[in-house]
């Protein structure tokens, strides 16, 4: 549905997006992740036709966003980051206007507006002036606007920004419901939401794509998984055993009297828990704790966005330096 190829956007001297390339297939819900200023909004604005790209290509449902702009825009329902509105119109009037602008035939307009209001759950403020509704409702009005022409693709830029946790939860619920009928690309810098809702994530940092895939798999394939062991033996014995089995140096962990605990950073794909467990059993040492700790998405995110590849830094997040 959405194809981006070597997209570059320069604002004067600043390079906002640098040779970005990704795809969004039909039916997917893709989370667009990145710190503030990473280039998410810029990319989205290029896709929706608000800004032209400096170079590269983007197509929406087969239509080039620059050369076949009108057709591309027709297929997108867009919720901008700051939800611009016309404060002097009522919600219904605003939505009717947007429906007309997007080419919804006059006879179907009322029904389309009703449907959109229902999906976005703004029915109770239908007759209020848009300028007078609360922040949360405004966001949902914007969402209703994106939905009103029933477009195949929804692009939502930070749909939960500025909302309280209840409102955020509601938006996520709506997005999940919409996923059944629309292809959705939404951006956020709140990782938990992205993880909850999307089938795939794209991570962008300083204008370049850093990761593209299903969250669990990404995390799983990343460096920095930790092995945590606690057993009834001495610290040193444990350290030596781990070093032997895992092949990496272990870091001692604080442990109650009589126990030894340590942790070690593993290579990607490395899983010595089975081997270690057997050794400990064979040695007759009671095992208190033997687990693999995957980094959280935050840690993963921090890792790839900070650009640091040193396992040690991650390990330091959990314990002491490895010698």
């Amino acid at each position: 549905m959405i194809r981006v190829f070597a997209l570059t956007k320069r604002f004067g001297q600043t390079l906002a997006v640098d040779r970005l390339g990704f795809e969004v297939a039909r039916g997917e819900v893709v989370g667009f992740l990145g710190p503030n200023g990473a280039g998410k909004t810029t990319t989205i604005r290029v896709l929706t036709g608000y800004h032209p790209a400096t170079s590269g290509q983007a197509t929406v449902d087969g239509f080039d966003v620059e050369r076949q702009s009108l057709a591309a825009r027709q297929r997108i329902g867009y919720l901008p980051e700051n939800v611009p509105i016309y404060p002097e119109l009522r919600v219904v009037e605003f939505l009717r206007y947007r429906a007309a602008l997007k080419g919804v035939p006059p006879r179907q307009r009322t029904a389309a507006v009703e449907r959109a209001m229902q999906k976005a759950d703004v029915g109770e403020v239908a007759r209020k002036l848009v300028g007078h509704v609360s922040r949360g409702f405004r966001q949902r009005v914007g969402l209703a606007d994106a939905l009103v022409a029933n477009p195949p693709i929804l692009i939502l830029d930070e749909p939960t920004s500025g909302l309280d946790p209840n409102q955020r939860r509601r938006i996520k619920q709506v997005v999940r419901e919409l996923a059944a009928e629309h292809t959705i690309l939404f951006s956020s810098h709140i990782l938990a939401e992205v993880q909850d809702v999307s089938t795939r994530i794209l991570v962008i940092h300083r204008g370049t794509l850093r990761a593209d895939g299903v969250p669990e798999r990404l995390v799983a394939e990343a460096v920095g998984r930790r092995l945590c062991v606690a057993a009834r033996c001495s610290q040193d014995a444990l350290l030596a055993l781990v070093r032997e089995v895992a092949g990496t140096a272990a870091v001692p962990e604080p442990a109650p009297e009589g126990l030894g605990a340590c942790s070690a950073v593993l290579q990607p794909g490395q899983d010595p828990t089975g081997a270690l467990g057997e050794r400990l059993l064979a040695a007759g040492i009671a095992v208190r704790e033997l687990r693999l700790v995957a980094p959280t998405l935050e840690q993963y995110f921090a890792h790839i966005t900070e650009g640091s590849d040193r396992a040690e830094e991650l390990a330091a997040a959990g314990g002491a330096e490895v010698a």
Binding site: T54, S55, E66, R67, E88, R90, K128, L129, H132
Partner: protein, 533 residues
């Protein structure tokens, strides 16, 4: 991507330039004379020009004639002395405005061939002075100079006075010969701008050299060559030639008809009655739109004072035989008794001129007193024929008398008792309706015939000093009127609003209170409805 971007930018720039060109082209096309239209929504189309003017300007444009209108409208200085002066100022202002507007229409119709120059002595002294010099403008009154140059030919011009030539004023003074002439408040009766300007234009172009025929055979002592003898007419004839007239002799000895190319016929000092045939010939000339200038004088010789004869019958005038004299105005206002030189006889006649007729208007406004000798009384013949209009041109003041011949045959210069003093007419203008009907709706009706009859030695060598203006005026005016265009001039029927205070109060209530309040309430209502959800 970049190439596409640049192409798009260049496209926008080119598009803007193209749109500008389209705009210019659109305006240029709409300004082409063939497409230009002026839709007139005024009642009776008072602000449009006549079709004949349009046709004239179109013709000028096609022939590439360079037409110029030069406006010399000096700004009035000081405050008007009385109501009459104030009214004159107002009329001048209105006439200036009308003339400027009319010339804008001429410019609009004429396109490239018409240029209008509006001179302002205050702001552009040099240009104004140069133009004044070129056109002989003396700087004392509002003037419009019409100039035209056929391609390859020299520019010719005609100077017109705003108040005298381009307008018809109503000055009730002279119409009533019995009462003294008072300065009443003048009113603007008609604006003749279009008639006069178009005619002047046409006369500059159409006429080559006007031909003035001097009738021979009716004056036994007429000498038209000598420029020095007081009684001869050499200077007048030379003056006419200087003005561009082709002066020829006309004799009825062979053919009793006026040649068709005659702009006017001049008869100087006839001392015989016209024969019936010749009178008919002259009348036919006039009735066919021709011009006739008759200058009678008084002669002491017996039988040398024709009274009009057959021509008088046809045109409805007759002359007395006795000379007319007038008292020199006495500052002590004595109606009898010695004149200022101690003698109660006067030999010269002080005249009042018509302020209405184009020939004498300017003279009247100049206000210089005219004195002439050798005049005989003139009057409308009782039972004068219809189909013509007679208008007094020159008349004496109220203290005139007829000088009866004394024992020596010469008229007695002594004034009679006051009750026998009366005014006498010494100049008459007659306008004769054309006999021949117009050929069809397109052909212009032939102009009306014009006759000017004056009695007195106006244009002999001694009289021409003082009366040159009058004589040349007559001839010029007659020659020009030949090509007068048949245009209806705008009659002024000013309307007035007669309002009462309650009406004005109601207007105030409606417009100052009612309407704004209505808007205020409507606005508040809208605001309220919008807030309510």
């Amino acid at each position: 991507m970049t190439a596409h971007r640049w192409a798009a930018r260049v496209n926008l720039l080119l598009g803007s330039a193209l749109m500008l060109a389209v705009w210019v082209l659109l305006v240029w096309t709409a300004s082409r004379p063939a497409l230009k239209t002026l839709i007139d929504l005024t009642p009776q189309q008072v602000n449009s020009v006549a079709p004949s003017t349009e046709a004239l300007l179109r013709e000028l444009r096609e022939q590439k004639v360079a037409v110029e209108f030069h406006l010399f409208f000096p700004r009035p200085v000081g405050q008007p002395a009385d109501e009459a002066m104030a009214q004159v100022l107002r009329i001048r202002g209105r006439l200036q405005e009308l003339t400027r507007l009319l010339l804008r229409r001429y410019q609009w119709l004429g396109g490239e061939s018409v240029a209008v120059f509006d001179y302002d002595l205050q702001s552009d002294i040099e240009r104004t002075r140069a133009a004044a010099l070129a056109f002989g403008y003396a700087g004392n009154e509002d003037a419009v100079v019409v100039a035209a140059a056929m391609p390859g030919r020299e520019r010719r011009f005609r100077s017109l006075s705003l108040l005298s030539d381009l307008a018809e004023l109503d000055l009730p003074g002279l119409r009533d010969p019995s009462g003294p002439a008072q300065a009443k408040v003048p009113t603007l009766k008609r604006y003749l701008g279009e008639v006069v300007l178009s005619s002047a234009l046409k006369s500059l172009l159409v006429q080559g050299t006007p031909v003035a025929y001097l009738l021979r055979g009716y004056s036994r002592t007429l000498n038209t060559d000598n420029p020095t003898i007081g009684a001869a007419y050499g200077r007048f004839v030379a003056g006419l030639r200087n003005l561009g007239f082709d002066v020829r002799d006309l004799s009825f000895s062979r053919e009793h008809a006026v040649p068709r190319d005659a702009a006017l016929v001049i008869v100087l000092e006839p001392d015989l009655e016209f024969t019936d045939v010749d009178a008919t010939a002259l009348f036919d000339h006039v009735a066919g739109g021709g011009r006739l200038f008759l200058n009678y004088v008084h002669s002491p010789r017996e039988g040398w004072g024709p009274t009009g004869g057959k021509l008088g019958e046809l045109l409805g005038y007759e002359l007395g035989q006795l000379p007319v004299f007038h008292l020199i105005p006495d500052p002590l206002r004595r109606t009898s008794g010695p004149g200022l030189d101690g003698n109660d006889a006067v030999a010269r006649l002080q005249l009042q001129v018509s302020a209405l007729h184009p020939v004498t208007r300017r003279l009247a406004q100049a206000g210089t007193p005219l004195e002439v000798g050798g005049a005989r009384g003139l009057r409308e013949r009782p039972g004068a024929p219809a189909g013509m209009r007679r208008e007094p041109l020159l008349q004496t003041g109220p203290h005139a008398w007829l000088g009866r011949p004394g024992r020596d045959g010469y008229p007695d210069l002594k004034a009679p008792p006051a009750n026998l003093l009366q005014p006498f007419l010494v100049g008459l203008a007659i306008e004769v309706d054309p006999k021949t009907p117009a050929g069809g709706p397109e052909t212009a009706a032939p102009p009306k015939g014009q006759v000017v009859i004056v009695s007195g030695a106006f244009c002999n060598n001694s009289g021409i000093e003082a009366f040159g203006d009058l004589a040349y005026n007559v001839c010029n005016w007659m020659a020009e009127r030949r090509v007068l265009m048949d245009i209806q001039s705008n009659q002024y029927a000013p309307r007035q609003m007669l309002l009462q205070t309650p009406q004005v109060e109601r207007v105030r209530w409606l417009l100052f209170y009612g309407v704004p309040l209505g808007f205020l309430l409507a606005g508040l209502a809208v605001l309220y409805v919008r807030r309510r959800s």
